[in-house]
């Protein structure tokens, strides 16, 4: 082995080991701190627990109208969820009329789904039932405590300028006979305070028999605005945090066993090239995991299955190459010549077979939804990474081995 090759080989191995250790335990060099892969990977709801719900808008609108309604709905939902103070919630449109809401870490699904799906039609009605103001006139709503009545939680409202004017007029009229103005939320009367005098500053208070939490939720609902359409729950899923953790641990364990099994198999069947393939496989796994982090991809259970399947396909590329090389050696070529022609012949096969699989992956991504998409991402990434590592790393190291004395005995190649 000449010096240059030895340096390349040692460098490659050092890099791989560092990468693997950094992935497992994290790494700290000076000011640069790399967290372990398991802490950086974004996990899907199925792996960390949480709630998702798909809501369908009950509307006959189409085209641009539908788009407008759906975007408004999405905004309102986002504001409401923000008010719940969750980490990394996700609100996405799915198809035409649906919105998928993902709430990681939420355990009380019932409450969460109720809170976000509520239409929250807030209305101020006069004694004849005429609507004076709606939630759309509200500028701000906040939780407050009425100090004079023993710290009762109430919701304070501030109206937009147009609302202020409407409210002033209505209170002026109502004040004459000390009539009530009725506050209605989702067709239920919340409170009906009597009006004693005209209120010109656009401020009101909703009293009710609220607990502190109820008042805070109500304020958030009103702040978020009314939903433009009724929403129906068409699909939902709740995954407890224990189950999520179990799934993750079990799949990681399965992956480890699978990989070790593959390592042993390759070593026994292909000897020296098998060892090289194993090195390439470690690099392959690191490349895929780090790219998933880089692309901000969310790892789901089907995603893990896709990863494990793609490991099988990464090995396939190596197997095709080694079988070719063996054939060339049996045909009487020298190790170096066999490696070179084996590679060029295998290249075409690997390219054609992987591109066809890639086509399937792209279609899967384009037409699948939710978990199927996650599966497609890892599969596509796996195919690309396997081609790079098999045709790059395996080739580089095999050439180095073939050029070194002592490593170019056909016996090492299983031929």
């Amino acid at each position: 082995m000449n010096l240059k090759n030895a340096v390349i080989l040692i460098l490659l191995i050092c890099l791989t080991v560092t990468g693997a250790v950094a992935g497992f335990k994290g790494l700290e060099v000076g000011n640069v701190k790399i967290k372990p892969i398991k802490d950086m990977m974004q996990l899907g709801l199925d792996l960390k627990g949480g709630v998702y719900v798909v809501l369908e808008a009950e509307t006959d609108a189409t085209g641009n109208d539908l788009d407008k309604i759906m975007n408004q709905t999405k905004e309102v939902l986002e504001r409401r969820i923000d008010a719940m103070g969750l980490t990394q919630p996700n609100v996405n449109r799915e198809g035409d009329k649906r919105i998928r809401v993902e709430l990681p870490g939420v355990s009380d699904s019932n409450e969460a789904i109720k809170a976000i799906g509520k239409t929250a039609q807030l209305q101020f009605v006069d004694k004849e039932g005429k609507v004076i103001l709606t939630g759309n006139d509200v500028k701000n709503a906040e939780l407050m405590f009425q100090t004079d009545k023993g710290n009762l939680p109430v919701v304070s409202l501030e109206f937009k300028s147009e609302g202020t004017e409407k409210f002033r007029e209505a209170t002026k009229e109502a004040a004459i006979n000390k009539d009530p103005i009725i506050i209605v939320l989702d067709n239920a009367v919340i409170s009906a305070p009597r009006v004693n005098s005209e209120i010109p500053n656009g401020k009101a208070i909703i009293e009710g028999d609220f607990t502190r939490e109820e008042a805070a939720n109500l304020a958030a609902l009103i702040r978020g605005g009314a939903l433009p359409v009724e929403l129906k729950e068409v699909q939902s899923s709740v995954i407890g945090p224990t189950l999520g953790l179990d799934s993750l641990n079990q799949s990681v364990k399965a992956a480890l066993f699978g990989i070790i099994g593959v390592f042993i198999f390759m070593l026994i069947v292909y000897r020296l090239p098998g060892l090289i393939a194993n090195l390439a496989l470690v690099i392959y796994i690191l490349v895929v995991l780090w790219s998933l982090i880089g692309f901000n991809a969310v790892l789901t259970l089907p995603g893990i299955a896709g990863l494990i399947l793609s490991i099988g396909m990464a090995v396939d590329a190596n197997v095709i190459i080694f079988e070719r090389i063996k054939e060339e050696i049996r045909n009487g070529k020298s190790i170096r010549a066999a490696i070179s022609s084996g590679f060029s012949r295998a290249f075409k096969t690997i390219l054609d077979s992987n591109i066809t699989t890639l086509i399937a992956g792209v279609v899967l991504y384009q037409f699948g939804s939710g978990p199927i998409k996650g599966f497609a991402v890892t599969l596509m990434l796996g195919i690309v990474a396997s081609m790079i590592t098999a045709l790059g790393v395996t080739r580089l190291v095999l050439n180095i081995a073939a050029n070194s004395k002592g490593l170019n005995n056909p016996k090492f190649y299983g031929a």
């Binding site: 699904s109 259970l301 599966f375």
Partner: protein, 293 residues
């Protein structure tokens, strides 16, 4: 390898499985999961093995007509499945009843899933749509890189694989659900991948073709690639099998069709794809032979 000589055996075997599956499917129906039919699934940790009938009795008042099965390593969990479309409120009611009866905690409600009936139809039609689109695109690619006959043979093999796996699901009553669809599409990828490797060798060996003996050519090519086919299937099946053995319930659902699919995909690329291509080539030779002389 004398694969071609026994073509009738392979075709017969596959046809038998597909026909049997179709008949079973027609008589007793496929075991469609709730994501296809619409319905609700709930998974609850019971802390001990509770007889299924006892649980059915507990939730009788809800008239769910639910399937109850045990899950978890020690059968300490139950999975309830009903075709009824329960929203989160009704699910909570059902859980509360079980919770009270068996003295459970809130966190024992481990998982719930609910699908409206329209979702299932959409998944179904999207799956069929994707397979069709993927097939057409792959046919174009293979026709471009190889020849049209290889492309058609590869796609026919693909359809064969999907039908065989579907038949196996019907015969063994394995539930068909969302992960099954993803797995099916993987089979599409894997089966093609495997077929292409064999076709690639045939394409390469065509220059040694003697007396238009396509059968011999294909037998030779298969012999040259069989070690690779077996080794690759072994490593792939090894990882998926570990997933099946160690995985949680939802992973198992996903791993099983993959195991079947990889197995069927490997078999078909040798015993179905190549014989189809040979049959077509031979037919062509015969036709030209009669016409020319």
């Amino acid at each position: 390898m004398k694969v071609i000589e026994k073509s009738k055996v392979w075709f017969g075997l596959s046809t038998a499985i597909i026909v049997l599956g179709l008949i079973m499917g027609m008589i007793s129906g496929f075991n469609l999961g709730i994501d296809f039919t619409g319905g609700t699934m709930m998974q609850i940790h019971m802390g001990k093995t509770v007889p299924v009938d006892e649980i059915k009795d507990t939730i009788k008042e809800f008239e769910l007509d639910a399937d109850v099965i045990h899950a978890g390593t020690n059968k300490e969990e139950i999975i309830l499945k009903t075709k009824k479309d329960l929203n989160s409120e009704s699910r909570q009611e059902v859980f509360n009843k079980i919770k009270e009866t068996y003295n459970l905690k809130d966190e024992d409600f481990r998982q719930a899933e609910q699908f409206g009936p329209s979702i299932g139809k959409e998944i179904q039609s999207k799956a069929i749509q994707s397979i069709l689109i993927a097939s057409v695109l792959m046919l174009i690619y293979i026709s471009f890189r190889f020849e049209f006959k290889f492309g058609v043979a590869a796609i026919l093999t693909l359809i064969h694989d999907i039908l065989v796996v579907l038949a196996l699901f019907a015969i063994f009553k394995i539930p068909i659900n969302n992960s099954f669809v993803a797995a099916m599409l993987t089979i599409v990828g894997y089966s093609i991948n495997d077929t292409i490797v064999v076709f690639d060798r045939i394409r390469e060996n065509i220059r040694f073709l003697k007396k238009k003996n396509y059968g011999l050519l294909v037998n030779e090519s298969i012999s040259q690639t069989i070690v690779r086919s077996i080794n690759t299937s072994v490593t792939t099946l090894m990882t998926i099998t570990f997933l099946y053995i160690l995985g949680v319930e939802s992973i198992k659902e996903f791993a099983l069709p993959l195991v079947l699919g990889v197995g069927v995909g490997t078999y078909s690329s040798i015993f179905i794809a190549s014989p189809i291509w040979v049959m077509w080539k031979n037919y062509e030779v015969r036709k030209k032979g009669y016409g020319g002389r």
